[in-house]
């Protein structure tokens, strides 16, 4: 039949290939729209900058994150001795333990980004799963899950994190990621559930039921893809929150022991007298600004992406 030949000839042989081509087209569309949005590009630029900082840290930072720059015996006062102010060789000064603060800031980006991104992924996956199942199944499943969610939500998150973190003992990367991830999923679950509830009522879901789709098919092929834009944008914003959570934990002293994060630097800065008159105020300000800008970058990109992916303009 002529028609079949045409479809086959156009390169489509399997539904899998078809889906791939379709997915590619969709991504191209989204990328084009990102390029057009000023907000998205600014956010993206910021993110690229910090990701570059993290990736190239070993080559960009002059020293390691906790390396003593010089021995106590032969350090130059005011330049390389602990608690030295900014100088030509050490643009941000030396910390109390003798490390170069400039390098610490550069290395710190790694931890902030890794912990932020991975814990956000943990929280997002968990929250999305709960939200999808809860929203779609409804009934007692929904009730039980939401009450559990309420319990997690109502526990003061900071206290919970501190308790869990303290209980674990020595904090390593995985521990930090898990702690932040496992306490941060509740809001995502609520948001996704709300979206699922609204998508569930849409006409094409009814039509999918009518042609005999099973519930899992509807959940995966109809509900999830339509909730995905929200999930993705939400994840990015969760990353911002996770970065801040990590900073807070580190600031309170619960931080990774074998390297630094910005929170830890700020913690040490306060401890090292940065706020005292005559102290090294840049020790505090620079990592703080880095945190702010990184979070800002995520927020910008996240908001812009939300606008792009959300079908707010329904073309009629």
């Amino acid at each position: 039949m002529g028609a079949t030949d045409a479809v086959v000839r156009s390169g489509v042989v399997s539904p899998f290939q078809a889906s791939l081509r379709v997915a590619l087209r969709r991504m191209q569309e989204v990328w084009a729209r990102i390029r057009h949005s000023r907000t998205a590009m600014v956010g993206l630029a910021i993110l690229v900058f910090f990701i570059g900082m993290a990736v190239f840290a070993p080559w960009v930072a002059p020293y390691g994150p906790i390396d003593r720059v010089a021995d106590t015996s032969n350090c130059v006062p005011g330049v390389s001795c602990p608690l030295s102010p900014p100088s030509a060789q050490h643009p941000l000064g030396i910390s109390e333990e003798g490390a170069d603060i400039y390098s610490q800031v550069i290395w710190g980006s790694q931890i902030s980004l890794i912990v932020g991104i991975f814990s956000a992924m943990v929280a997002s996956v968990l929250g999305t799963a709960v939200g999808l199942v809860s929203g779609y199944m409804g009934g007692w499943v929904d009730e039980v899950m939401m009450r559990f969610n309420d319990v997690v939500l109502s526990v003061p998150w900071l206290v919970l994190m501190i308790v869990v973190a303290a209980r674990i003992g020595t904090i390593d990367l995985l521990g930090l990621i898990l702690v932040i991830g496992l306490t941060g999923w509740s809001i995502t679950a609520r948001v996704i559930r709300a979206q699922v509830l609204s998508v569930k009522e849409r006409l094409f879901v009814e039509r999918a039921r009518m042609i005999g789709s099973s519930r899992s098919h509807i959940l995966m092929r109809h509900i999830f893809p339509n909730a995905f834009p929200l999930i993705f944008a939400n994840t990015i914003l969760t990353v911002a929150v996770s970065i801040l959570s990590e900073a807070v934990l580190a600031f309170l002293g619960l931080s990774i022991y074998n390297t630094v994060s910005w929170g830890k630097v700020i913690n040490q800065a306060i401890g090292g007298g940065a706020l005292v008159i005559g102290g090294n105020v840049w020790w505090l300000i620079v990592p703080g600004l880095c945190l702010v800008f990184l979070v800002f970058g995520f927020y910008l990109f996240g908001f812009a992406l939300d606008e792009i992916l959300n079908p707010r303009l329904r073309r009629r």
Binding site: V8, S214, N226
Partner: protein, 568 residues
Amino acid sequence: MRAVDGVSFDVKRGEVFCLVGESGCGKTTTGKALLRLVDATEGDVFFELPTEEYRRYEELRAGRAPDAAARIDAIRRKYSFSWTEQLAWDTRQILFWLGAVAAAFVLGVGLPALAAAGIPGALVNTGFILGASLLCGLLLGVIGSLPPTRPSARTPTVLALLSILAFNLFPIVAALGWPATLPGAPFDAPGIWATVWGASSFAMLLGVIVAPIAAGAASKIVLARRRETEGLLGVKMRTLRRRLHLIFQDPYESLNPKQSVFEIVSEPLVVNKIAHDPEEIAALVARSLEDAGLRPASEFVFRFPHELSGGQRQRVSIAAALALEPDFIVADEPVSMLDVSIRTEILQLMMDLREKRGLTYLFITHDLGLAWILADRIAVMYLGKIVEQGTAEQVISHPKHPYTQALISVVPSPDPRHLVKRTILKGERPDAVNIPSGCRFHPRCPVAFERCGWSADEVAEELTSLSSGGRLPGIIGIEAQDSRAVTLRMAPGVSAGVAAATLRQIVSENRDSRLALKGVAEIRESGDAIQVTLQSWAEPPLIELGPGNAVACHLVTPPAEAVPAVTA
């Protein structure tokens, strides 16, 4: 609240049947109930019912044969969608279930204990517990599917999970360190129990997975056997969905914006496992798209809904429906959201498909003009009831029901030369929660009379409006007594007799302009009040006037008894 009540019609193979009515008349709900997208609380939807069986069904329903119910059920079981076996568990089943759980418990706990005592090795424990889970699941699956229970695979799965939990409870409790000794056990140290459990925790995990699968498999087998022997149609709903289809009104919302046209059209095939071979799927998709008028198919296959026009989207919906090769399509206002110049194309397509593929259509529309040109037969609905039914000629050219007549008279024509006398009804369709008594149309009917269903509230309201216009001097209180009477109280000093006479006069003068007054049967003085009794009424049944032509109106099919009218 009964949105649709007492609707009964049949659609012959290959015809176009139009269900017409204004918004809120229940036509969409009826259409959806046909396909069981919405559950009907009562009544049957028969599919491919042979004529003799239908006749038998009607006879059984009308007559009073003693075994009528059982025989009707037999017909229902074979041909009706809405048949479900709704039966409760009896004691025998419950005991059976308890026995099975007990057996599984003993096996799941006792055997590992014995094993720990004599036979070393977690492997044996694993085997025992796995076996216990399998057995438990199978038993429960079979029990769950036996008559007289509801045919469903879910119940045994849940039961299996619960019993897994139950027979793991004991070792869990032991592992937590609480004193837990079986009376007479060869050992009583909680620690050993904990070891036993710990060693077979892997087996438990497997058991949790194995038992529901076993339960599901067992129940499927039992159900299949039952289906063969009893021929339950109600259970086959999912397979039947292939042959029945609904086309939605909104071409924008009925397509998933994240799916390409290919995915949308191939979904019914994939979901119903009709075609597995990718080439076959592609071929079927291409054929459906071309049949729906989207040529060449390759140009549309990778587009998304937002890249298509309204007409094209509706064609995609039709193509997706065609992919399943259905017999019967319910089309719910398929063109009302499209531009006028492309409506005809879509309708023409649907009619062509009817010829090419032998489809039968149920068109749901509010547009009488469309019904006029498309339908073989039409049923007009008002507030959940069919008021008139017949061929298009009968209903549109010679309407008999007052509502149909009014509706047709107000449909505008694009030809300004057609001057018609329009019967514009007053008021609006009442809410579905306030369905009028008797004939549902009577409050707005221009020719309603005594038997149509005037309620005490309506008559009281009419009398109140007369009174506030000063036409009933001396009457101060008008109250609806119950559903059949209205009481009026006089002002002090006014005699009941005189007031009653005035009332009679007013009523007989105004009954042609204020139709509610036709509901008054008798005006009597009782003590110092006036009692107004109302006419008895009945809801007009759908009565056949000729072959296939039926109307539900007392005017057309007058009831037997003579109706008394109030005269002065």
